[in-house]
């Protein structure tokens, strides 16, 4: 495996958002994720069962930045929905911070969706405050906390705009702010930068790392961009096969804080190429059932 200097990021002071309330993401092992023997199937409209994930097991220690890669349709979004408690698994268990996940736990785990999914009828501020509102936090407090998070993602002066007045990158920032506002122990991110141009995508990644450095929650970040996966991660998990399971896990030990300069180093390329080779091998093995490119609505492979 590729080597670099020290492995654990021990930088920066953890800053606990606007008010001292909750801050569950900061207490030791709270954000650990344990997944064992997870099998997930969908029943299609003809009542046929499709197993998407089979026997997926992994563990992510608290405070780790983990990325999940895999081709389109391999079940990455499905995995995140299970972790977020939105779907039930057929078998297997998910524990987050020692708690078994059977339903959404909005104060423990939050999800940033594949598209930003902002509510068009709410201002930026009220979009970000939404999770606090549904959690029953009082108006003044939720506005203060939402403002603080928006400052953190660099949108301090766009708070009274509506989503349609924002660029794609700004929308994703708002979505991230909404994910962070409750100070979750675990932040799940589903290809949050997929719709952005390459330059912006990596800049947002860099910014996300700075944020994470201050908040120190566990992040599970889904992407199908190899460079992004390696650049961000402490740990890269590869979903492969069909039905998919975690094939390969790679620890990425480049020092932190990282900047985009890392991406032009030979070590970075070696690691990236190694992952690419393993994914290509997987694709050849499951000949033609799915393609590497992202193709809109991923259709179920006929087989």
């Amino acid at each position: 495996m590729t080597q670099a200097t020290n492995s654990l990021p021990t930088s920066a002071l953890p800053q606990s958002g606007a008010s001292g309330k909750s801050g569950s993401g900061l207490q030791g092992s709270d954000g650990s994720v344990e997944v064992s023997g997870l099998t997930v199937s969908y029943t299609d409209s003809k009542k046929r069962k499709h197993t998407v994930l089979e026997d997926v097991s992994f563990s992510v220690p608290s405070g780790t930045f983990a990325t999940v890669i895999g081709p389109s349709g391999s079940g990455k979004s499905t995995l995140l929905k299970i972790l977020g408690g939105l779907y039930g698994a057929e078998s297997g268990q998910v524990f987050i911070g020692g708690r078994q996940i059977t339903q959404p736990n909005p104060d423990l785990v939050t999800i940033v969706f594949q598209d930003s999914c902002l509510l068009p009828w709410r201002t930026v501020l009220r979009n970000v405050a939404l999770p606090l509102e549904t959690a029953g936090v009082g108006r003044q407090e939720r506005e203060d906390r939402a403002k603080a998070v928006l400052e953190l993602v660099g949108l301090g002066d766009c708070m009274s705009r509506f989503p349609r007045e924002l660029s794609g990158g700004m929308k994703q920032r708002v979505a991230i702010a909404r994910g962070l506002v409750v100070e979750p122990s675990v932040l799940l991110m589903d290809e949050p930068f997929a719709a952005l141009d390459e330059q912006t995508r990596y800049e947002m990644g860099e910014e996300l790392l700075r944020l994470w450095d201050r908040l120190k929650s566990t992040v599970i970040f889904v992407t199908h961009n190899l460079s992004e996966a390696v650049f961000l991660a402490d740990k890269v998990m590869v979903l492969e096969g069909r039905p998919a399971s975690v094939g390969q896990t790679v620890d990425v030990v480049f020092s932190r804080p990282r900047d985009l300069g890392l991406m032009v180093t030979p070590e970075f390329h070696m690691l990236r190429d190694q992952l690419y080779t393993s994914l290509k091998r997987d694709r050849i093995r499951s000949s033609g059932t799915y393609s590497w490119s992202h193709q809109g609505n991923s259709e179920e492979g006929t087989q």
């Binding site: 999914c117 509510l119 009828w121 709410r122 549904t134 009274s160």
Partner: protein, 276 residues
């Protein structure tokens, strides 16, 4: 010219946050008064054209009486046409209120429950039936009074209102539901915070269409079978070849339509601030 324009637009678009807030609170009212002014101008132009046409006497005075003739007739019958209008207004208001509230409620409920979606097919089939044919039946059931007109108005308007509201709910982005589900909210919260606001633009378009259907149906009901109301006034004037009275009635109905349209337009502009 071509150089200047983009610059202006860019400036217009730059929303500073304080300006923004102002725009959000002030705009609907200002645009309402602007809309009224615009309608007044249209009415004046219409009157002028009318006056010119009848002044030239190319059309018989009965078929198109001049504005002055209508105005004179109105002056002498002002009290009566006003009281007939009030009769109709009351019926229309009741019918349209029922259409809007009950129709929106039914539509949203059906839209939210996939198990009830087969009802939409049934509704669409029913909507294709020309409802006027059952009107005499309503007369038999409810008599010649207000009830048969109100019921007729409701029947004509409530189907499109429900169908369009249901469609508005069904077209809500799946992700919105996923987001709220991930926040662990109850069904009522989901309804109030997600479904209602997301469906609102569609519901308001439904109000526009079903409201005018309700109005038309009440007036038609009065024309067909009634002893009062503006529809009766029109039918009566037509039967007795009283040109000016006929025009008075038509103008009153036009005013109703414009008023209702303005109300829905006002609602539309109020929400446009947020929905774009």
């Amino acid at each position: 010219m071509s150089l200047k324009e983009p610059v202006h637009r860019a400036e217009d678009k730059e929303p500073s946050s304080s300006q923004d807030l102002e725009r959000h609170t002030g705009a609907p009212w200002r645009s309402l008064s602007r809309a009224i002014a615009k309608k007044a101008i249209i009415a004046l132009v219409f009157l002028a054209i009318w006056w010119v046409i009848t002044g030239t006497r190319i059309l018989p005075a009965f078929a198109v009486p001049g504005p002055l003739a209508v105005a004179n007739a109105t002056k002498s019958s002002l009290h009566e046409i006003f009281s007939q209008s009030l009769v109709t207004v009351e019926r229309v208001v009741i019918a349209v209120a029922v259409i809007w509230f009950i129709g929106a409620l039914c539509g949203i409920l059906v839209g939210m429950n996939p198990r009830l979606w087969p009802l939409l097919g049934l509704g669409r089939a029913l909507y294709a039936v020309p409802i006027v044919v059952v009107y005499p039946l309503l007369g038999v059931w409810f008599g010649v009074g207000a009830t048969s007109k109100i019921v007729f108005g409701i029947i004509s308007g409530i189907l499109p209102m429900s169908l369009m509201s249901a469609a508005a709910v069904r077209s809500i982005d799946e992700n919105v539901f996923l987001l709220f589900a991930s926040l662990g909210v109850s069904r009522t919260t989901m309804f109030r915070r997600a479904v209602l606001p997301a469906a609102l633009p569609g519901v308001i378009s439904a109000m526009r269409l079903s409201g005018s259907l309700g109005l038309v149906s009440v007036v038609v009901g009065e024309m067909l079978l009634s002893g009062n109301g503006i529809g009766y006034w029109i039918a009566n004037a037509g039967a007795q070849f009283e040109g000016p009275s006929l025009y008075e009635g038509i103008i009153v109905v036009l005013i109703f339509a414009v008023l209702m349209n303005s109300f829905v337009g006002f609602l539309e502009r109020r929400i446009a601030v947020a929905y774009g």
